[in-house]
């Protein structure tokens, strides 16, 4: 994906300039224009609605630009393009679920935070489905979301859960915002942000309040043979499944139970339970729509440009407090809720002022 800083129409104007003082700039602009590069137009849409009393409202906003490819059970990316933004449903459930899931996630980021797509600039949303054979995973490869079909024994697939699709897309957002190194605590924060915004996307899509939400990640992707409701629970980490083959959900909800392991990039999918639960505590303390206050504070923290890629839990927690203070003011109930959230999981000590 190429993003030009200087838009092409401006380059053309500079290139055409005849003033002697602009000679060098004009030459450079002509050279830039002659260099083959891809210019994309950003999609937009108009939403019409009728507001009482009989007022027709036109609302312009960006629109997603989705492309779904089919790996046809090979492990080669991107696979065959099967559905673009203007194409009708294909009839392949995985293709259409991925398409719809990306659309719902796009809508969430735009409606909640005014963010257009992964890169904040209307960039393409790329996904590949039917990756590999019996492939038990969904992942972000640095430029696209990739979904296996599951093996039918543990997982029935991944695209049917909006939380999974939104989790993968959120990895892209985190990466575009400077990233969190995928190892140890910064990796667990990276994972947690994907779970948090995955859960919020679903809540936004269903119009649920913090009280109504399930706070589950990956509900409905296990086969009926597995004893478990989902992969992870932000409300109660460690309780999502307890199966005789898979074992018990290993997520801790408190620093006292932090898991040191060389597996899983240092337990990024395990210790994410701690920041996940801190978010849940914050969101439920504030109540209402979780994406509006708690979610906004987390989003501002991620996108502030001040978060180090190697942040640990404590640094991230302090950054959320700073974001809450900037957004709502010191001494606000939002700041109190954030502090209480991190205290509840043992990242802040009781009585310690962050």
């Amino acid at each position: 994906m190429t993003h030009a800083i200087v838009p092409p129409y401006l380059l053309a104007r500079i290139a055409a300039a005849r003033e002697p003082t602009w000679a060098r700039a004009a030459h450079a602009a002509r050279a830039t224009l002659e260099t083959p590069r891809e210019y994309r137009t950003v999609r937009s849409r108009i939403r019409m609605s009728v507001e009482e009393p009989g007022t027709l409202v036109f609302e312009g906003g960006p629109a997603p630009d989705r492309t779904i490819s089919d790996a046809r059970h090979l492990e080669n990316l991107p696979g065959v393009r099967v559905r673009g933004e203007d194409d009708p449903p294909t009839g392949d459930a995985d293709v259409d679920e991925a398409f719809d899931g990306l659309g719902a996630t796009f809508d969430f980021y735009w409606d909640a935070y005014g963010r257009s797509s992964i890169d904040g600039a209307g960039g393409e949303l790329l996904a590949t489905v039917h990756y590999g054979r019996d492939y038990d995973n969904a992942f972000w490869n640095g430029e696209r979301m990739v979904f296996g079909d599951g093996d039918g024994e543990i997982f029935v697939g991944f695209t049917q859960s909006l939380t999974v699709v939104a989790h993968e897309l959120a990895h892209g957002v985190t990466e575009y915002e400077g990233g969190l190194v995928y190892q140890g605590q910064s990796g667990a924060l990276n994972e947690s942000l994907s779970d948090v915004f995955g859960a919020l996307t679903e809540q936004h899509h269903l119009g649920q309040s913090a009280e109504e939400a399930t706070w589950l990640i990956g509900e409905g992707i296990f086969t009926p043979a597995v004893q478990g409701v989902a992969l992870r629970s932000l409300a109660a980490p460690g309780t999502a499944y307890d199966d005789d083959v898979l074992g018990r959900d290993p997520q801790p909800a408190h620093m006292d139970d932090y898991v040191q392991t060389p597996d899983d990039n240092g337990g990024v999918h395990i210790n994410s339970g701690i920041p996940n639960h801190a978010f849940y505590l914050t969101a439920t303390a504030l109540g209402g729509r979780a994406w509006e206050r708690a979610g906004l504070i987390w989003y501002r923290t991620l996108t502030s440009g001040t978060l180090s890629p190697t942040s640990d839990f404590a640094a991230f927690a302090r950054a959320t407090v700073a974001s809450a203070e900037a957004e709502y003011g010191e001494g606000s109930e939002e700041v109190d809720a954030v502090r209480a959230g991190w205290t509840g999981v043992g990242v802040f000590d009781d009585g310690t002022d962050a």
């Binding site: 989790h167 993968e168 043979a225």
Partner: protein, 135 residues
């Protein structure tokens, strides 16, 4: 985690420099070959383990599979390239007699001889699964 893995990590470091037939002591004239594959990470963060212990008749082809892998380039102590997110992380532990080797692999590295070995282990014997009854 239900199954305590037959964890190769306590078995000492990888045996290096034995590219040919492993210098495997024989017990009763038999080379004991055992390979354990552990997969962690992935979106689900689930740990899965597969183990193969082929019988004597199959040992030569397994030794060939093991020797076909570039173990020195897959040192478990190295940092895996952090590309993307939710990728699987693989750990392979192979023993031929007293010679032990270990490897850590990022998911995109599981190709060629590594893929052949890992697929063979997964096909030889899946992790122990208690019979499921309808719930």
């Amino acid at each position: 985690m239900t199954e305590p893995t037959p964890d190769g990590r306590s078995q000492g470091g990888p045996e290096k420099g034995s590219q040919g037939e492993p210098d495997a002591p024989r017990r009763d004239g038999v080379i004991v070959v055992a390979v354990t594959v552990t997969r962690t990470g992935g979106f689900a963060g689930l740990r899965r383990t597969w183990h193969a212990e082929p019988d004597t008749a199959e040992a030569p082809q397994w030794i060939a599979l093991i020797d076909g892998c570039p173990w020195d380039a897959a040192d478990p102590a190295r940092d895996l390239a952090p590309i993307g997110a939710d990728r699987f992380v693989w750990h392979v532990d192979a023993r031929c007699g007293d010679a032990a080797r270990e490897a850590a692999l990022a998911d995109p590295e599981v190709q060629g001889p590594w893929r052949d070995l890992i697929d063979a282990v997964r096909a030889a014997k899946t992790e122990p699964r208690p019979p499921r009854t309808a719930r």
